[in-house]
């Protein structure tokens, strides 16, 4: 390394502490509202009830892993219908494309749990330690009783929030009131306590200490979202053509140099309110989660110095170029409605409509048959050929049902479940318990004469008033030649 001496090797970098300053404004209020809604959804949802009758749980949203059922209000998903969940994930992906191409990293700035909980933690921090400057001083101050008391209070509240967060998570996987009772009685499953502990730890550490480090170093979304932005996507833009060159303080701008300086007075309010500690005036960057708090801060300053708002504002890269060239600003709606976003919206609604249609028309009664492969057929003493099947009848209704299993095709065949072979029975009645699959081993007997592989179908018919039918294809196998 010939020129190593003039390069300072710094492989690892200490985290630069961020003390974001409190700010008020339109976007701050929007963030409060979104935080209230998202946190309310998260904490309240497991406690909503939904009556499904005596055979199913009454929790509105429940992921019942033990019984392999997923309940969401009127919808119940079985494991074989997992494609609905896959469809929801595809919709979430395309929804992210849509939002990102239209309004940039809005997910990061407003709705991401990391953002929401960090915001909440920072609010607690300001409540205990004071605003930016007080926090800064406290951090530098030597450890004393006051600092210890403040730190313990802050960490204690953080921990309470973290426990509530981890605690709410497990309620999605079991009956919430019962589980809460069990948890408090130290009687719940170890996995419940384990999940709470892990989520408490991640909430406490990620929300309290890692914060913007998660966004910058750990999270893949910033990279992916950056790739999905285009020149028409809204990003938080410092309008350098209006702000530069920066003036240094109000007095200077009032002097003769007014004509030479831009609107930016270099007050650094945009930097001090930034939760990731960046300077937006350096242009778009990975650290910007587009939370728009710098817009609020700058607007306030602009109002104070009597300049129009929006020195820092949501704008697309294309509009930035146009405005830099002197064109007037365009309405935002033009950016939101363009072929790319409309295409995403159509795909998104198309998948949603298809899933709703599939959900509305899915069968609630189903039959499938698995043939014994070893041996495929058995020759009985009177020459009859017997095949054995494991027939499964799926009853997706939340009540027990009596059904009749029959055969379609295979003329002259008989069906029985064990014991002596009947002379001419082709149907079988069974009770299928509520919301479950009944498994029944059946024997099918037919004459030796016929195709080596004869297709037929098992049928199922509900015997109650509501009715309903299903069929499952099967094959009857015979030996290739009689000895």
């Amino acid at each position: 390394m010939p020129n190593a001496e003039h390069i300072a090797p710094s492989l690892y970098e200490k985290r630069k502490a961020v003390y974001p300053k409190a700010v008020d404004g339109f976007y701050r209020r929007l963030k409060w509202a979104i935080m209230a809604v998202t946190l309310a959804i998260y904490y309240v949802t497991p406690w909503l009830r939904w009556d499904r009758g005596p055979y199913a749980p009454d929790q509105a949203v429940l992921v019942d892993l033990a019984n392999r059922r997923f309940y969401m209000f009127a919808i119940e998903i079985w494991p074989h219908e997992f494609y609905y969940v896959a469809g929801l994930l595809v919709m979430a992906g395309i929804g992210l494309f849509l939002v990102t191409s239209a309004v940039g990293r809005a997910w990061c700035g407003y709705a991401c749990p990391q953002t929401v909980w960090t915001d909440l933690y920072q609010h607690v921090e300001r409540f205990i330690d004071g605003d930016r400057n007080a926090q800064f001083r406290l951090d530098k101050a030597p450890w004393g009783p006051a600092k210890i008391a403040k730190r313990l209070t802050k960490w204690g509240i953080w921990l309470l929030i973290a426990v509530a967060t981890g605690g709410a998570w497990v309620f999605y996987f079991a009956d919430a009131p019962t589980l809460l009772k069990d948890l408090l009685a130290l009687d719940a499953a170890p996995v419940a306590y384990g999940s709470i502990a892990v989520l408490t730890a991640t909430t406490f550490i990620l929300g309290g200490f890692m914060r913007e480090q998660v966004c910058v170093y750990m999270c893949p979304w910033p990279r992916i979202q950056t790739a999905m932005l285009d020149e028409k996507s809204l990003i938080v833009t410092y309008k350098d053509w209006r702000g530069e060159p920066r003036g240094h303080g109000l007095k200077k701008t009032q002097t003769a140099t007014l004509a030479e300086t831009g609107d930016c007075i270099d007050c650094l309010q945009c930097v001090s309110v930034c939760p990731t500690g960046i300077d937006i005036r350096e242009g778009p960057q990975i650290g910007c989660i587009t939370c728009a708090l710098c817009i609020d801060a700058c607007d306030k300053v602009m109002a104070q110095i009597g300049k129009p708002r929006g020195l820092i504002d949501y704008a697309s890269a294309e509009d930035a170029d146009r405005e830099r060239a002197g064109a007037p600003a365009r309405p935002v709606i033009r950016l939101l409605l363009r072929p790319r976003t409309i295409a995403y919206l159509l795909v998104w609604t198309g998948i949603g409509a298809a899933m709703l249609f599939a959900l509305g028309t899915r069968t609630r009664l189903d039959i499938s048959a698995q043939q014994d492969r070893n041996p495929l057929y058995v020759r009985l003493a009177d020459g009859t050929i017997r095949n054995s099947f494991t027939v499964k009848v799926r009853n997706m209704e939340a009540r027990p049902r009596a059904v009749e299993i029959g055969m379609d095709g295979l003329v002259g065949a008989v069906l029985w479940t064990g014991g002596a072979r009947p002379a001419a029975t082709r149907t079988l009645r069974i009770e299928v318990p509520a919301d479950s699959v009944a498994k029944q081993r059946v024997f099918v007997g037919a004459g030796a004469a016929g195709a080596v592989r004869e297709p037929f179908a098992f049928t199922v018919r509900a015997l109650d008033a509501e009715g309903g039918r299903g069929r499952g294809d099967a094959q009857f196998e015979r030996p290739e030649a009689t000895p």
């Binding site: 300072a8 970098e13 041996p375 058995v378 009985l380 020459g383």
Partner: protein, 325 residues
């Protein structure tokens, strides 16, 4: 050689490599990342001390926690045996002819038998119990020694043609041809007759001669109509199921040299519970027969259990005795 420099736009050092004008910035990693690296080293050292890790000449270091996968396995097996204990006790206490009365216990027996079958029986009878030449298919309804669950238990327990065992299933067909009882031409006539009664050939002169020979030599065991006699394990010769083949050549070969299929007696090796489970499994394959009326049962050495005891639900009973211990 890599040429490192400071990138002007960002003030960050480059990695020193260039690909078609594209350079990579050497952005420093966050310090906490370094800490997780150190922490993983500490963890790795601790892990190698606590768990088996370092290879030695003939084994590896044991680790201070004494953990081993074999130990885990033994723990799991012990736990499994404990959960199974009440079922095993109930099976031991239930006479085999009462097993079908208790569907839950019967189901447990069938599943246990399925597992035991895979270990002890598939070598001859095949994994699907379909048998092969010389080894009976256990799925069909044609039984040499009886297909009710009690007869199956007896057969499995005592085996077939076991030497030095009084209670084994035993019969010996004479080797009519080899021992000179019948001449080769007579053997062929007899084979023709067997082909006729099994519906594979039309009656002819040879078959008529064979019918007379059959009545004289074979009917005592196979019955005058050739439908067999389970007392001697003599097969039904009129059905389409052939253990050693139903062609003229196969039948003639069987008459000439006779067949002596053998099966080990499993009672001593596997114990009564496993034998019961195997009997239940074989009975469940589709060819199982109902028990004959009382009094007609063959002699068996099934443990004599008082009727009052057996009438109790065995599972609950066993669970209670398990809890008391």
């Amino acid at each position: 050689m890599a040429e490192k420099r400071i990138d002007e736009a960002t003030g960050t050092q480059t990695m020193g490599h260039e690909w078609d004008g594209i350079e990579e910035l050497d952005t420093p990693m966050p310090r906490w990342w370094l800490w997780t690296f150190y922490a993983s080293i500490v963890f790795a050292v601790g892990y190698t001390v606590a768990y088996p890790a370092w290879p030695l000449i003939d084994r590896a270091t044991g680790g201070t926690l004494g953990w081993s996968s074999r130990g885990d396995f033994e723990k799991e097996m012990a736990a499994e045996a404990k959960t199974r204990a009440p079922i095993m006790l109930a099976l031991a206490a239930t006479p085999i002819d009462r097993l079908p009365d208790n569907p839950e216990l019967m189901h447990a027996a069938v599943e246990g038998g399925r597992a035991a079958f895979k270990v002890h029986c598939v070598q001859c009878h095949g994994s699907g119990a379909a048998g092969s030449k010389g080894y009976p298919n256990l799925n069909d309804d044609d039984w040499l020694w009886g297909g009710d669950i009690k007869s199956l238990q007896y057969t499995i327990e005592h085996g077939i043609r076991n030497p030095d065992h009084d209670q084994t299933r035993m019969s010996l067909m004479p080797a009519f041809g080899r021992d000179g009882i019948l001449k080769p031409a007579q053997v062929d006539d007899l084979a023709a007759h067997v082909r006729v009664i099994s519906g594979q050939e039309k009656p002819g002169a040879a078959a008529r001669r064979g019918a007379a020979l059959f009545a004289e030599n074979c009917a005592v065991c196979h019955g005058a109509d050739g439908k067999g006699l389970r007392e001697f394990g003599a097969p039904n010769l009129t059905d389409p199921i052939w253990l050693y083949g139903g062609s003229r050549e196969d039948i003639a070969a069987t008459i000439t040299t006779a067949r002596y299929g053998v099966m080990p007696r499993w009672g001593e090796k596997l114990g009564p519970v496993t034998v019961k489970m195997l009997a239940a499994y074989v009975h469940s394959l589709g060819g199982g027969e109902a028990l004959p009326a009382l009094g007609a049962l063959p002699v068996s050495d099934a443990p004599a259990t008082p009727v009052a005891d057996a009438a109790k639900p065995p599972l609950a009973d066993a669970a209670k005795s398990d809890a008391q211990r």
